[in-house]
Symmetry: C2
Subunit: 202 residues, 2 copies
Amino acid sequence: MTTAPPARAAKRGRPGYDLESLLAVAVRLFNERGYDGTSMEDLSRKLGISKSAIYHHVPSKEELLRLAVDRALDGLFATATAARARDESAVQRLEHLVRGSVLVLVDRLPFVTLLLRVRGNTKVERAALARRREFDQLITDLVAEAVRDGDLRPEFDAATVGRLLFGMVNSLVEWYRPRGGIGAEELADLVVAVAFDGLRKN
Amino acid sequence: MTTAPPARAAKRGRPGYDLESLLAVAVRLFNERGYDGTSMEDLSRKLGISKSAIYHHVPSKEELLRLAVDRALDGLFATATAARARDESAVQRLEHLVRGSVLVLVDRLPFVTLLLRVRGNTKVERAALARRREFDQLITDLVAEAVRDGDLRPEFDAATVGRLLFGMVNSLVEWYRPRGGIGAEELADLVVAVAFDGLRKN
C-alpha cells in the first residue's frame, strides 16, 4: 500500500494526498490552464477527491497560489541572502546570485513558471509582484555596485542590464526540461559564462 | 469627422474601424485576458460595435489571431532572411539577426507578446509554434556555424546557446516599454554587447 501512487489510492476512496502532492497537482493545472481558468472543481476532478477533501488541507484556491509562488520566491530570496552575505566583490556576489537563481529555477521549475505568469489580479498575486520587484531591486543594486567597482562595463543602465540578465535566466521556464537535456550545474555555468564573458571566443 | 477617434465614431453608429485598428484592439485584449479567455462578444463590447460589424472585416476570432501572430513572425523571418543574405561571417550574421530581432520586438511589441504566449490549442497556434521552431533552428544553425568558424566559444551546445540568446531577446516583451525607457537602437546595441562580449569590463 505504501508504494501505491496517490491517484490509485484515491480511487479506493482514500484521498492519499498530503498538502505537498496536492500542491504539485494544483501548480501543474494552474500552469496548463492559467490560475484564473482553474476552479477548485477542476482540481477536485483532476485529483479524484472531493472538494471538501481538498479544503481539509487548504482553505482556498488563493492559498494554494500563495504556497506555490512563495516556494519560488523563498528559494530566490534565500539565494540572494546567501549571495549578499559572501565576503566578495559585488561582481562575484552577482555571479553567485545568477548561478544560484538558475539552480533554484531548475529545482522548482513549476513553481517559478507559475510565479512568472502572475499578473496581479488578487491580493496574493499583488504581493508576489511586490516581492519580485524587491528581488529586481537587489539585482539592480548589485549591478550598479559592480559597475562602480570598475568590474562591469559602465556604459549601460544598471536596471536594464539586470532585466536582460534575468530575462535570460527566467527564459529557462519556457524551454528547459530536466530530463534529457544538460544538467543544472552545467546550465548554471553556461548562463554565467554567457552573461559575464559573452559568447565570442577571445 | 476624419480626426474623430474610432470609439467616438462608433458611438454615432458608424463603425470607424478598419482591419488594422480592429486588430490592434483585439491583440491588446488577447494579451490582457488570454486568447482563450476573450470572446467575440468581449471584443464587440470593447470596440463598441456589433459582432456583425466585426465579421464584416474578419471571418473569425482565429483569423484575428492568425493575422496577429503572422505580423510578428513575418517581421522575424524578414530579419532572418536579410541576415542570411549578408556576405559576412556567421557570427556577424548572427549579430545582425539578434539586433534585428530586438528592433522587430520593439516595433511589433503587442504582436510578439501574443506570439510568445501561444500554447498550441488551435490550428493557427500549432502553425505559429511550427514557424517558431523553424526560426529557432535558423538560430541554432547560425550559432553552430559561428562555432565551426572559431568565432564563438565551442564548449556549449548550439541549441542551448540559441535558446538563452533569444530568451534574453524575448524577455523584452515582459519589461520593455517604448515610452520613457531607452530607445530601440540603444537597446539592440546593449543586447548584442551583452550576448557577444559579456558584461565584464575587460
